[in-house]
């Protein structure tokens, strides 16, 4: 999803030569930022997929004779209190972290969009009821909802995903519903319906493509938010203890060493920050690229 998004952006900016000529610096700057962001995201996805090709050491190898070594040529980002290589840990930890991010967005996004689509399409009392439910979920801030779920279900990867997904569901539902309402009333939809197009084909051909872009933008930002929420839960002691910890767990477990061995928590923290920052940059870029009004400009 992420690669697709950045590729799309690049493609769009290339295809608008007039803009390019008028505001060259803008494009260069914009592309510089989103290209860097794209590269970061791609690299981290690679880490999640094939960590064994990237990490120089095993992430679980604990050696008492190499604990708390500062960053250097042998251990690029130093070693932690177990004597594990921090860089390898981050590389391997990417899988878990990105999983939390993407899975919760997928679950929350798909179910939210479905709910919103139903609501917008059917209208009437279904709409009222569904939107009331969405209102209710919105009243409980994401972190609190995640905490409540974790308190009930106990810590667990899927519980974090579920909690974040539930919390983000209203946003997707609303966007989808709003899009559908605005698209539904446009003349060309009425026109295609009048020439006998089925509801489903109208939805697939016209409504969906038009609604997808804001959802994509939200999803990008959502991936970052869920990773942050996950790390917050780790901090509060509701995280998951794994042989290979995710970044949030690394950051929160290493924070006690900040004054003694800053590298243990700083690099995982930077991984989180960089990743969230990158998806946000991409989200922004997508928003600009997909906004019809900006495109006209």
């Amino acid at each position: 999803m992420r690669e697709a998004a950045s590729v799309k952006t690049a493609w769009r900016t290339k295809r608008t030569p007039t803009t390019l000529q008028r505001t060259v610096p803008k494009i260069v700057v914009a592309r510089w930022m989103s290209l860097t962001a794209g590269a970061v995201v791609l690299f981290l996805i690679a880490c999640a997929l094939v960590p064994q090709w990237i990490a120089p050491y095993s992430p679980t190898d604990m050696q008492a004779d190499r604990i708390l070594l500062p960053p250097g040529s042998a251990y690029w980002l130093g070693t932690d209190y177990f004597g594990r290589d921090v860089f390898s840990l981050i590389v391997y930890g990417a899988r878990e972290s990105l999983f939390i991010g993407f899975a919760s967005v997928l679950v929350g996004g798909v179910s939210g969009a479905l709910l919103g689509a139903l609501s917008g399409y059917l209208g009437g009392w279904v709409d009222s009821v569904l939107m009331r439910i969405v209102d209710v979920i919105m009243t409980i801030p994401g972190v609190l909802l995640a905490l409540a779920v974790a308190a009930g279900l106990g810590p667990g990867l899927w519980n974090i995903v579920l909690a974040v997904a539930i919390a983000s569901l209203p946003n997707y539902a609303r966007i989808m519903r709003g899009q559908i309402l605005s698209v539904k009333s446009r003349p060309f939809i009425t026109a295609s319906r009048s020439i006998g197009a089925s509801e489903l084909s109208v939805f697939v051909k016209h409504v969906l493509p038009n609604s997808l872009s804001p959802l994509l933008v939200m999803a990008c930002i959502g991936v970052g938010t869920s990773i942050l929420t996950g790390s917050g839960l780790s901090f509060l002691g509701l995280g998951v203890l794994k042989e290979i910890p995710d970044w949030g767990a690394l950051l929160s477990q290493g924070r006690g060493y900040l004054t003694v061995a800053w590298w243990i928590c700083t690099f995982p923290g930077m991984a989180i920050t960089l990743f969230v920052l990158s998806v946000n940059v991409i989200g922004d870029e997508l928003r600009d690229a997909l906004d019809p009004r900006k495109r006209r400009e």
Binding site: A30, D135, I140, V149, R174, G224, R255
Partner: protein, 316 residues
Amino acid sequence: MAKVIAVRLLSCLAVVAGSSVLVFCILYVLPGDVVMNMIDPSSMSPEAIANLRHELGVDRPFYEQFLHYFREVLRGDFGKSLVNSEPVLPKIFAHLPATLELAISASFVSLTVGLALGVLSAVHRNKPIDIAVRIVALFGISMPTFWSGILLILIFSVFLGWFPAMGSNGWNTLVLPALTLGMLGAGFIVRMVRNSMLEVLGEPFITTLRAKGLAERAVLYRHALRNALIPGVTMMGILAGEMLAGTVVIETVFSRQGIGRIIADAIMAKDLPVVQGVVLFTAIVYVIVNALVDISYAYIDPRIRRLHNDRRSGWA
């Protein structure tokens, strides 16, 4: 106007009722035996456990339990802590000032910093200053708050010694937590203000004003900014939720004595009535703030009210 308010209030009540159902479901339908969590089963006889179960009402069917809970909540009774049998609502009120203090000052930081940087960014669109502001704002929303909080403690209390590292007594204990939480909010606001400023600056009436020869400063601050700020009112509502939720982590980092800390501790102790009470309380606050925002919104601009109602996205 009165009708708008009345309808809004009614739907608020409905939403709060809904929230209480949701909170109740999350905590009570989930697996795990509340009673077994409370006690040391080996130290009590099965009859004593059954009695306790009855006393707490957990042996009754779910809907009965819920109705009972809801009735008590309507009466203002949020139940009692399982840890020290302290009533939940007074406990929340006792810890509310510290949280309000933090949420309000953090909102203040968010708004001032966010507005200033947002306008700066929009005005200098795509200049280095804009890029810098945007990156700073992105950092604000991309850093886990417990991490930035600890960094601030290290810098400002350990190395520089300017502000205390913890506590919730006195303005100086408020500086670091408000800054930490405020940075997060500021990140959001910068983006919001920048976007809506740019949008407004592209409107025809701005071109007209410029064509009329109005000074750029006046165009920007008297006309563009004012219009750009209208969505900002909505932002306040969302911000209220974010700030309240953010206090859970922040209050733990800075050992502040607020409701965020209560819920964090209650979760550790499996003190479900307290978790439930705090979550429900937050939901109520959120609904009230957003209802106020909604009403004031309609008050500011009837046009928006209509538009808003058309799009019917409630309060966001």
